[in-house]
Amino acid sequence: MSEPVAVKLTAKDFKSDQEVRWCPGCGDYAILAAIQQFMPELNIPRERTVFVSGIGCSSRFPYYMNTYGMHSIHGRAPAIATGLSVSRPDLSVWVVTGDGDALSIGGNHLIHALRRNVNLKILLFNNRIYGLTKGQYSPTSEVGKITKSTPAGSADAPFNPLSLALGAEASFVGRTIDSDRKHLQSVLRAAAEHEGSAFVEIYQNCNIFNDGAFDQLKDPSTRDDYLIRLEHGQPITFGADGRFCVVHPPGGFGLEVRDTSSVRPEEIVVHDATVTDPAYAFALSRLPGLDLRNTPIGVFRSVDRPSYDSVVQGQLAAAKATVTETPEQQLAGLLGSGDTWTIV
């Protein structure tokens, strides 16, 4: 992990000289601004920060960050970033990806990075559509969605990215929204502090091909009743005056939302992101309805388990610890190992 340094950076330091080329009004702008403003807080020098992305509108992100960066190929960012992270534990490696990039073509790399707990901060910009290729449905599009490639409506159920991540053994899982800068930064902060993979879903508006996908969560008239803001150690209540709450009914099979007035206070679940059993965070991830009611945001899960990087580097260090020879001497020894014979 990167150690903090003295130089104090500002948001401007993280702006590259490249012209930003998203559509006017795209949610990506807000995320970019929030991240540029957030980065200095980490006290990690720019040169030790790397953004790796795949392909998609969202994946243009690294070009706009004045750090090291790679705009790679569609779906492969987690794999490329894994090689980088595990071989360079001194770096802070971030992956920026879209719902198509991460969950469609890149699904396998994503779930394996999470299982391994590679030290990556993975930011999935979920606009529930393919932006860059101009509007086909994505693995997070709702059933029946009419798009260029599904004129009769899509036939398949979407992934719930957080459920999938939890099913893949993710040690850190969170969700936030493009338009809520403070919240976005708070989740990034927790992700950055986490050792291992941190998976953050960011709801992002694509105003060209899927405008308003998350409006219920942004509109002041519905927002508070729809959003569940998770806070570690706090009972989970939401809505005006906390009129709704989340319970774990003894006879039931998961978590459920109730009117706060109808339950005893001790029945309300007190959010604990550090619970070892992912069944809890998984149950949280299933709360939202099709209309986005009961959408939790915040850190769902943040548990400690060794990162792949640390175990692998530990094995290397252990193997090297006993070495007393120069590499050349070691090599000579290796070449000459096994059954040899000499001709004079």
Binding site: H71, I80, E328, L331
Partner: protein, 615 residues
């Protein structure tokens, strides 16, 4: 009883048995003993496809062939002089390869009705006339082994299992091999179970003594040491040599080696081997698939490691898109393709050279890369170093085309002096290279190598972004400019085409050959042996062998045009011949066999003589 001792200049022995009979180990040990004696050696293991077939069946047969001689040899031999057949299946599967007069040592205990039936023998070949042309030695290998171990504290099963050591003892006696290394080996192998050491040693000695005493083996043979260059040798397979070459590349470049790999026959052993060398800073990662493996290697290269990925044909196909990214990023990357027979899953344990086209052309867009191929097991070491050199110096993906034949075959290897190995040190970029002294231009090239700077994350002041979209010359910014694209496409091609590689050398001892045989990769041995044969018949023929397939040696066209005929034998349908014809407009004759097996020198010899007749 003193036995007659006969001198031979060369012998080919094939050990064959069921997958569970330990034939690979037996062959390996015999090879090792032979190496100690100073013979030149070449080996060819041949194991069943993938899984252990039911005992005693034809698909379950595993064999190991070793060729040793008192002169330098080039192949594991076309036809065994001796076949050790541990069961009827082993006999049946291998008989066709034996020349008349060969010795066959059979384990009679296994020639039961049931076992014979399993492989379709109506009557026992030991009892009918079918082996008339051979010298058959029926030996009750299993029961004699069990008998010899009667006093030992081992189960019957373990006793039976030692029968391969009995066979080894017998063969070691027959060919007067020094057996100390085998005894040491057994001690190491069964260190945890001393009773097994004792049993195996006893079985070995019983076999030896059986040769010494029985009437059936009247003659003992000797093959004198070969005249070999002075130095220390070890016997090595291609996969092992290739692995060591990659370790050496790490040492000589001072860079950590990062191997991203997904297991696949016949490349997996490189992953296994490299995962043992963590003390060299070699980091191995078994990735979720081939795409992730090459992706991780590329990510590591971006971070300043020597990124390597090892696979076979199906894996290279999957990696193509990422290799194309590596072409655009201009980062070092070594892709090892241990070729096997295709298309599709094909015959995973059999050899072939049919991935050359894919290596040269198998990517979308104009995506040129360097391609090189080792010619023998030990050459895999040097080829790996050369691949790393090109990748690091020219910041390019390099495909190293090994194949199952060199990968699993073995030969004696004169250990190189570490200091004599090429110096692969590279310089990372450390400061801005723009004219203004403050800008960093990630695509400003070294005028000599055309390589761009390698500025790794962590280097303050050189923050920059790269990617798969077309890049503007020098700045590396995204560019859709038509002229820039044309320029970049041509520059990337020139980058590869102008890598200096050594001239090709022609071997033409008579100096007057009018026919040139051109080969590449693992056919070096068989072609060389065939040329020797041709020359021994008083005919002249020239041999040249390509190590660099891309770029090709500068003198190649001239060399080719100086012969009346050029013959190109390949274990494919003529892929190199196609390239040669296109580049040099030379009417090369393609000679192809796609049998999953190396050429035999004899067949090649016949073919070459045919060509010579028509010059």
């Amino acid at each position: 009883m003193t036995k007659q001792i006969r001198q031979l200049d060369r012998v080919v022995i094939r050990f064959a048995g069921d997958s569970g009979d330990g034939m690979q180990l037996t062959g390996d040990r015999f090879t090792s003993e032979t190496a100690q004696l100073g013979n030149d050696i070449s080996t060819l293991p041949n194991f069943p496809a993938e899984i252990r077939a039911p005992a005693g069946t034809l698909p379950g047969v595993s064999s190991f062939q070793v060729h040793f001689a008192d002169y330098d040899i080039l192949t594991p031999g076309d036809a065994p002089n001796v076949l050790v057949a541990m069961n009827p299946a082993a006999l049946k599967a291998n008989l066709a390869d034996l020349p008349r007069g060969a010795d066959i040592i059979v384990n009679t205990d296994e020639f039961t009705k049931r076992n014979l039936a399993k492989v379709g023998y109506q009557t026992s070949p030991l009892d009918d006339d079918s082996l008339a042309g051979y010298v058959v030695h029926p030996v009750a290998l299993t029961s004699m082994t069990v008998g010899a171990l009667a006093a030992h504290q081992v189960s019957k099963k373990d006793a039976e299992r030692s029968k391969n050591m009995f066979a080894l003892g017998l063969l070691s006696w027959m060919y007067s091999r020094p057996f100390e290394s085998t005894l040491r080996f057994l001690e190491r192998k069964f260190a945890a179970r001393p009773e097994l050491v004792a049993a195996n040693v006893a079985a070995f000695k019983a076999g030896w003594n059986f040769g010494e005493t029985t009437e059936d083996f009247a003659v003992r043979y000797e093959v004198k040491p070969a005249k070999m260059q002075p130095g220390t040798y070890r016997n090595i397979t291609g996969n092992a040599a290739l692995s060591l070459g990659l370790v050496a590349a790490g040492v000589r470049s001072g860079l950590p080696v990062f191997l991203g790999a997904y297991p696949i026959t016949p490349a997996s052993d490189i992953l296994h081997e490299l995962s043992k060398h963590k003390r060299f800073g070699v980091l191995t990662m078994q990735a979720e698939d081939e795409i992730a493996a090459v992706g991780a290697a590329l990510g590591a290269s971006y971070g300043g490691s020597l990124g390597v990925t090892t696979t076979s044909g199906p894996g290279v196909a999957l990696k193509s898109e990422t290799i194309s990214l590596a072409v655009a990023l201009e980062l070092p990357l070594v892709i090892v393709d241990v070729q096997r027979a295709g298309p599709s899953t094909g015959m995973p344990t059999k050899t072939e050279q049919a991935d050359l086209n894919m290596a040269l052309y198998g990517r979308h867009g104009e995506a040129p890369i360097a391609v090189i191929a080792p010619r023998s097991p030990s050459d895999c070491f040097f080829a790996a170093l050369e691949a790393a050199r090109i990748a690091l110096t020219y910041r390019t993906p390099v495909i190293l085309l090994s194949d199952n034949y060199v990968a699993n075959g073995s030969e004696p290897w004169l250990l190189p002096d570490v200091e004599s190995l090429p110096d692969l040190r590279v310089e990372f970029a450390t400061k801005p290279n723009g004219e203004d002294g403050t800008t960093f231009l990630p695509y400003l090239r070294d005028p000599e190598t055309l390589a761009r700077p390698w500025a790794i994350p962590g280097t303050a002041g050189l923050e920059h972004r790269i990617g798969g979209l077309e890049k503007a010359d020098k700045t590396g910014d995204i560019s859709y400019d038509p002229a820039n694209h044309d320029f970049m496409v041509r520059t990337r091609a020139a980058r590869i085409e102008t890598i200096p590689v050594p001239d090709i050398e022609v071997e033409d001892p008579d100096g007057d050959a009018r026919v040139l045989v051109l080969g590449w990769g693992s056919t070096y041995g068989p072609i060389g042996a065939a040329c020797r044969g041709v020359r021994q018949r008083g005919l002249s023929i020239a041999q040249a062998h390509l190590r660099h397939l891309a770029p090709m040696p500068a003198n190649l066209g001239e060399v080719l045009r100086s012969y009346d005929k050029v013959v190109i034998p390949e274990m494919n349908l003529g892929q190199l011949a196609h390239v040669i014809r296109a580049r040099y407009l030379v009417d090369a004759i393609s000679y192809n066999q796609v049998r999953g097996l190396p050429f035999t020198a004899a067949e090649l010899e016949t073919t070459l003589e045919e060509v010579l007749k028509n010059v």
